[in-house]
C-alpha cells in the first residue's frame, strides 16, 4: 500500500512535463516556487510562532542579488543563486537578531517595515534595478526549456522539504515546537529560546532567498512585485488555507491557490478578495486548513 502510494507520488511528480502543455507546465513550475515559499514560511510561523511579513522580501533579496551579480559581474546564475541564498540568510539573521526578542505583533510590524523599505529601495534605485520596469536577467540554462526548469524546481523543492523534515524530526524541531507551545516553560526546561527562534528565522529566510533567486532566473525578468506585500499575503494565504503548522498543509495550499488563481485571473484584482474570503471561511470552519480536514476525515498525510 505504501509502495503504491510512493509510486503514485513519483509518477505524479515526473509526469507533468510529458502530459501538460507549456502553459500548465508554467503553472506547475510557479506552484513549486510557492511550495518552497509557503513551506519555509510555515517553518517559522507554523512551528515557532513568529509571523514574519518579510518572507517575500527575502525572496526579493535572493532574486535581485543573484540577478544583479549575473548582470553586472558576469557571475554564473548557479553561483548567483547560492550567493542570493547566503545574503538572504545573513540579512535574515540580522533582522531576526533585531526583532526576535520583541516577539509577537512587534516582530510582525518590524518585518513588515523591513519588507516595505526594501521594496521602496528596489523601486527607486532605478539605475541599478530599473525600478518597476523590471530587470532582465539571464536564465539558468543555455537552452531555454520549461521541462528543465520544472525538474530543477522539483528537485530543489524536494531537497528543501527533506531538509525541513529532517530539522523538524531532530532535537531542533522538538525545541521549535516547545518554544511555540510555551516559551517560558521551554526556557525553564533549558531551551535557549532566542537562539532557537533565530536559527529558524535564518534558515527560513535563506530558503526564501533561494526560492526567489531561482524564480528570477526562470522568469528572466525581476520586478519589485517579488518582494511586494501582495506576494507576501499570497504566501501567507497558501500556508493558512493549506494548514499552518502541518507539514503537508503549505504544499497543498500552494498548488490549490496557484491553480485557482490561474482560473480567476480574468477577474483581475478581485482574486485577492476571493482569497481573503476563502482564508476567512477556512479560519472559521477549519482552522487546521485543508490538510487538517483531510487528515481528520481519515486520509493518510
Amino acid at each position: 500500500m505504501r509502495l503504491v502510494g510512493l509510486a503514485l507520488i513519483i509518477g505524479g511528480a515526473v509526469l507533468p512535463p510529458f502530459v501538460l502543455n507549456q502553459y500548465w507546465l508554467h503553472v506547475a513550475i510557479i506552484s513549486l516556487f510557492y511550495v518552497m515559499m509557503a513551506s519555509s514560511w510555515n517553518l517559522i510561523a507554523g512551528y515557532t510562532g513568529q509571523v514574519s511579513f518579510a518572507h517575500a522580501a527575502f525572496a526579493g533579496v535572493g532574486a535581485y542579488a543573484s540577478g544583479m551579480l549575473a548582470l553586472y559581474a558576469g557571475v554564473h546564475p548557479a553561483v548567483g543563486v547560492m550567493a542570493g541564498t547566503l545574503l538572504a540568510g545573513i540579512l535574515g539573521a540580522a533582522l531576526g537578531g533585531l526583532c526576535i526578542r520583541m516577539g509577537g505583533i512587534y516582530l510582525s510590524l518590524t518585518t513588515l517595515g523591513f519588507s516595505e523599505i526594501l521594496r521602496i529601495i528596489i523601486t527607486n534605485e532605478e539605475q541599478w534595478t530599473r525600478g518597476t520596469m523590471g530587470l532582465q536577467v539571464p536564465g539558468l540554462f543555455t537552452h531555454y526549456s520549461k521541462t528543465s526548469y520544472y525538474f530543477l524546481f522539483l528537485g530543489v523543492a524536494l531537497a528543501l522539504l527533506l531538509l525541513m523534515r529532517w530539522i523538524l524530526n531532530s532535537d531542533m524541531g522538538l525545541a521549535f515546537r516547545a518554544v511555540l507551545n510555551d516559551e517560558l516553560a521551554a526556557a525553564t526546561s533549558g531551551i535557549h529560546t532566542v537562539r532557537v527562534r533565530l536559527l529558524a528565522f535564518t534558515v527560513s529566510s535563506a530558503m526564501a532567498g533561494m526560492a526567489g533567486a531561482l524564480y528570477g532566473h526562470y522568469l528572466m525578468l525581476i520586478t519589485p512585485d517579488i518582494p511586494s506585500l501582495g506576494q507576501m499575503f499570497l504566501v501567507l494565504a497558501m500556508a493558512v488555507i493549506g494548514g499552518m503548522g502541518s507539514f503537508a498543509g503549505p504544499i497543498v495550499g500552494a498548488f490549490v491557490l496557484e491553480v485557482l488563481s490561474e482560473y480567476i485571473r480574468i477577474y483581475g484584482e478581485y482574486h485577492v478578495l476571493l482569497f481573503g474570503l476563502v482564508a476567512l471561511v477556512i479560519a472559521r470552519f477549519a482552522p487546521e486548513g485543508i490538510a487538517g480536514v483531510a487528515s481528520r476525515s481519515g486520509w493518510k498525510r
Binding site: 522538538l174 526556557a187 525553564t188 526546561s189 533549558g190 531551551i191 535557549h192
Partner: protein, 242 residues
C-alpha cells in the same frame, strides 16, 4: 550549602514584592515556603529560576553565583521548576514533553534510543508511562502536574522548585503527590524547595519551613516551631483584639 539566596529584593512599579529575603538549602532537604497570598513566594521562585533578575541581592548554587542568568542557563546549572498554573507543552505528546527537558540540558547527549528509554523511565517514575504517546492537552490536572515534574526531573536538577503542586488535587491525589515528592528526595537525592498552601501536607513532608509575609521572611524553623510562632499566626489570622 546547595542553594543560597542573599538579601533578595524585587519590586514591580510601586509594588514591593520582596524586600531583602535570605535563605539557605542543604543537600537533600525538603523545605516548605509558605505565606499568605501576595507575600512574594512565586516572586522568589521567579528570581531563583531567572524569569526576571532581582533588583538587589544574590543567588548562589553550590557557592557559584547565578544571579541574573537567563532561565535556560539556570536550568542547565541544575535548578528545575514547575509552575503554579501548569504549563506542559499541550500540543506535544507526554514523551516529547520529557524529551524537551533532556534536549536543552546534559541529558540530551547520547544516542536517540537511550534518550527515549530515559524519558520513558521519567514518565514511569511519575506514574504516566501508559500515557507516553498521548497529547499533554488530554491529561487531567494531576497528570499535567506529574508531567511537569517528569519534565523538570529530565533536566537532571540538583534543586527542584515546586510551585503549589497540590493545589486543586483531591485528598487521595494529595497523598499520591506527597509520596512522589518523598521519592524525589530519597531515590533521586534532589533538594526540594516547595511553595504550598495545603498546611497539613507541609507539616507532614517538610524538614524545615520558611514563612514570608509582605515580602519579608517572618519565621523559619521546623513545621511545629513555625505554626506556633505568634508572628506567623498574626500574619495569617490578623491581630487579636483581646
Amino acid at each position: 550549602m546547595l542553594l543560597e539566596g542573599l538579601e533578595l529584593a524585587k519590586s514591580f512599579g510601586g509594588l514591593t514584592a520582596l524586600r531583602g529575603v535570605s535563605f539557605q538549602l542543604s543537600p537533600r532537604e525538603v523545605v516548605g515556603l509558605i505565606g499568605p497570598n501576595g507575600s512574594g513566594k512565586t516572586t522568589l521562585f521567579n528570581l531563583i529560576s531567572g524569569v526576571f533578575p532581582p533588583d538587589a541581592g544574590k543567588v548562589f548554587l553550590e557557592r557559584e553565583e547565578i544571579t541574573g542568568l537567563k532561565p535556560y542557563q539556570i536550568c542547565r546549572k541544575g535548578i528545575g521548576r514547575t509552575f503554579q498554573i501548569v504549563r506542559p507543552f499541550l500540543k506535544m505528546t507526554c514523551l516529547e514533553n520529557v524529551l524537551v527537558g533532556m534536549v536543552g540540558t546534559s541529558g540530551g547527549n547520547g544516542p536517540r534510543q537511550a534518550r527515549q528509554e530515559q524519558a520513558m523511565a521519567e514518565l514511569k517514575f511519575v506514574g504516566l508511562s501508559q500515557w507516553a504517546n498521548r497529547m499533554a492537552g488530554d491529561l487531567t490536572l494531576i497528570q499535567k502536574k506529574q508531567l511537569e515534574m517528569a519534565r523538570a526531573l529530565a533536566t537532571r536538577p540538583k534543586v527542584l522548585l515546586l510551585d503549589e503542586v497540590l493545589a486543586g488535587l483531591n485528598p487521595s491525589e494529595v497523598l499520591q503527590a506527597l509520596e512522589l515528592i518523598e521519592e524525589v528526595r530519597t531515590r533521586r537525592g534532589i533538594t526540594v524547595f516547595w511553595v504550598e498552601h495545603v498546611m497539613g501536607a507541609i507539616m507532614k513532608a517538610c524538614d524545615r519551613v520558611i514563612v514570608l509575609d509582605q515580602g519579608q521572611k517572618i519565621s523559619e524553623g521546623s513545621p511545629e516551631e513555625v505554626v506556633s510562632d505568634p508572628a506567623v499566626i498574626r500574619a495569617y489570622l490578623g491581630e487579636s483584639d483581646a
